[in-house]
């Protein structure tokens, strides 16, 4: 093989062909079928492990949409899944497998908290000062996340280092280094647990509509604005065009003068920037300080499932994020009110990804049972 990257490129071409070949309706059907099948397998496992699947289902609905608090919990997770999901979608759409969103999310969130803590003494202690600090924190997250995403991008573009593996390694490294930083040099005074100091009270998102401590509609709005911005960049700008063509038709892109290497770096940077925003929202809206990142949840990983379910379309990430937000909230509810291990939800998420990866499974099943499914 002359071009060492051609394997990856061709593989993605195929995946893209298959996805583009599928109509929007088919894609929706495949996504729905994958989710339903994964949930059914989850229920079978619940039953096999000796729990009552019906109670489990009731718990899932109560925990995700049962009352106002449950809805707030769902939207809280949705906010993060939409942002991290868009970060993944940007990269996957451009044919770059950024599995490092979790690491970029951690680095971004940590940068937010540290920059707010540093700048807090300089800003006035009122709403304006708070808002200014939030903007600075978000900028820090965008820069940090972008740089941490650019690194594997550069390694892939100029040294042919497989980005799947480097980004996974960089996740471990981000979690380890930030974990060490919050335990040692950045540990807040008098903190018993390995946490940074709290960011000041006046720096935070306002509680509107839902009166819960860890969700603000403003956070959700930030996520939706990011979705809109990315959708515009992908569909309406030269950069987006370059990214999508080099993801789907490498040869055509090269022919029309797209610098493939620079596009890879740009893609990874953009993806990391969005992941950084997700980290900032998490740090400000949910935590208010930064703790050991090995225990903050795997939003950056689940985002891969969110993005795939949405066929890597930034707009599709919204409903997919809502579904995962509901599952996540249900998981927390189950953890408190039921003795079914919450890890089951993680397993079901994995199964969703597995089934989404094999659309052919459903096409064959559809043909076999005669439920439509015209030939490819």
């Amino acid at each position: 093989m002359t071009d060492p990257d051609a394997g990856g490129g061709r593989r993605l071409d195929r995946a893209a062909d298959r996805m583009l070949g599928a109509s929007a309706v088919q894609r929706l059907l495949i996504a729905t079928a994958s989710t339903v099948l994964a949930l059914v397998v989850g229920l079978v496992v619940v039953a096999a492990a000796g729990y009552d699947p019906a109670t489990f289902l009731v718990n899932v609905f109560e925990g995700s949409f049962g009352d106002a608090t449950a809805v707030a919990q769902t939207l809280r997770s949705t906010t993060l899944f939409v942002l991290t999901g868009v970060a993944v979608a940007v990269a996957f759409r451009a044919g770059v497998f950024n599995i490092g969103v979790q690491g970029q999310f951690v680095v971004g969130g940590f940068a937010t908290v540290v920059s707010i803590l540093w700048l807090a003494p300089l800003a006035p202690e009122n709403a304006v000062g708070g808002a200014a600090l939030l903007v600075c924190g978000a900028l820090a997250a965008v820069v940090a996340g972008g740089l941490y995403g650019a690194l594997p991008g550069v390694l892939k573009a100029y040294a042919d280092a497989n980005e799947i593996i480097t980004t996974i390694m960089l996740n471990f490294i981000a979690i380890g280094v930030v974990g060490w930083l919050v335990d040692g040099p950045f540990r807040g005074e008098g903190q018993r647990a390995p946490n940074t100091a709290r960011i000041p009270e006046h720096v935070g998102l306002p509680r509107l509509v839902f009166d819960v401590p860890d969700f603000s509609v403003v956070g959700l709005a930030v996520a939706l604005v990011a979705v809109g911005a990315i959708a515009v960049v992908m569909e309406r700008t030269r950069l987006g065009y370059d990214m999508i063509t080099s993801g789907h038709q490498e040869a055509a892109a090269a022919f029309s003068g797209v610098d493939a290497k620079r596009t890879i770096v740009a893609t990874m940077t953009l993806s990391g920037m969005v992941a950084g925003v997700a980290g900032a929202v998490f740090a400000v809206m949910i935590q208010g300080y930064y703790s050991d990142p090995s225990g903050i949840g795997t939003y950056g990983f689940d985002a891969i499932a969110v993005s795939l379910l949405a066929a890597n379309n930034p707009l599709g990430v919204v409903p997919a994020g809502l579904l995962f937000g509901g599952l996540d909230a249900a998981g927390r509810h189950i953890g408190i009110y039921s003795d079914v291990p919450v890890q089951l939800i993680d397993g079901v998420v994995g199964l969703v990804v597995l089934f989404v990866a094999a659309p052919e499974l459903f096409r064959m099943a559809a043909r076999r049972t005669g439920l439509g499914g015209e030939d490819r």
Binding site: R11, D160, L170, L308, Q343, G350, V353, E360
Partner: protein, 349 residues
């Protein structure tokens, strides 16, 4: 390919590995590190034990990729292997597993991995699932259901103390200095892995099946023309890779003596490191085994630093293998993959 051929073709790689070691020695001398306290007999023994699961997973992944299927799910299969080995050993021993129960657990983990491997093979080969996405999914499913198993059985993501595999002491030979404790008074699983590496080299380069396997990855059309079913060869390789990764996870558990399901579980990236080990070894089982030893050594440095009294935070020393992986991929990123990796093959008949 003979060993001499391999050495000749990979002169740069081998030279680099030697250079790396020389550089490390020079650095140690310059910084006045207590080398004698770092490179001890115990360190070598621990390095080989840490390398064992990585080498097993690497050999499995190498077979799958040589046949044309990128099994990126090694990490997930390892998690299942560790969880299943622990669970079966615990159930078989009624809560206090003996050595026999542990071996039953290892065997059961491998058998279950064969079944998972068959499902994964069907999805990637028959149903043409995207190999990368499906492999990632295996990891996610493992990260969910591995700890799930632990919570169901033990009420906690971590198991209680189970049993760790007893050292196999060869009489007389184990009395030898250095070689004795490293080779003849250590976990029998180390020897098993070394054997597996050797055998898989022989099968890959000296048997007809190995020839088919390489053809399935390089030129499936030719193999098909010769009347051999490409799908069947690939099924075999993928199922084997899952079983090896399952064994790798079980070995990890047998060395640790208990299951850890917090964070990224006890496997903690070793499956991914396994992939890098075979890339670094340029798809040669023996090269992959050597790379596994390198990564195993980095993994065990932390204990040596502690005993030698060098003050580096544990949390950072633990990151050495991951950093090494990034460096290795950056310097040797452009490995020559088998030509047909990632391509589902549809026979023309």
């Amino acid at each position: 390919m003979s060993v001499a051929d391999y050495a000749a073709r990979n002169r740069v790689r081998i030279g680099a590995a030697v250079g790396l070691l020389a550089g490390a020695a020079l650095l140690a001398a310059l910084l006045d590190l207590p080398v004698a306290a770092i490179v001890t007999v115990g360190f070598v023994e621990r390095t080989l034990q840490a390398a064992t699961p990585i080498a097993l997973a690497a050999v499995g992944g190498l077979y799958a990729e040589k046949s044309g299927v990128f099994n990126i799910g090694l990490e997930g299969f390892m998690i299942f292997g560790a969880a299943n080995a622990g669970a079966v050993a615990w159930l078989s021993g009624g809560g206090s597993p003996t050595q026999l129960d542990l071996w039953v657990g290892i065997l059961a983990a491998v058998l279950l991995s064969l079944a998972y491997g068959a499902i994964f093979a069907a999805l990637t080969i028959r149903y043409e699932a995207d190999q990368i996405v499906a492999g990632l999914a295996v990891w996610f499913v493992g990260l969910g259901f591995g700890p799930f198993t632990a919570v169901v059985l033990w009420g906690n993501r971590n198991s209680p103390r189970l049993a760790s595999v007893a050292d196999l002491t060869v009489p007389v030979l184990s009395e030898l200095p250095v070689v004795g404790p490293v080779l003849f008074d250590t976990s029998p699983l180390v020897a098993l892995a070394a054997l597996a590496v050797g055998i898989s080299w022989v099968v890959l380069y000296r048997t007809r099946y190995g020839y088919w396997l390489r053809a399935a990855g390089e030129n499936p059309e030719a193999l098909d023309t010769a009347g051999v079913s490409v799908a069947r060869v690939r099924y075999g390789a993928v199922i084997f890779s899952a079983a090896m990764a399952g064994l790798a996870g079980a070995v990890l558990l047998a060395h640790a003596g208990s299951f850890t399901g917090t964070g990224d579980t006890m496997v903690n990236g070793r499956g991914w490191i396994g992939i890098v080990a075979y890339l670094f070894g340029n798809y040669n089982p023996i090269g992959a085994g050597a790379a596994a030893v390198l990564f195993g050594g980095l993994d065990m440095l932390q204990i040596q630093f502690q005993t030698a009294g060098i003050e580096v935070p544990n949390r950072l020393v633990n990151l050495f293998p991951y950093a090494a992986v990034v460096v290795v991929l950056t310097v040797w990123g452009s490995t020559r993959m088998p030509a047909a990796v990632g391509e589902p093959y549809e026979s023309e008949e």
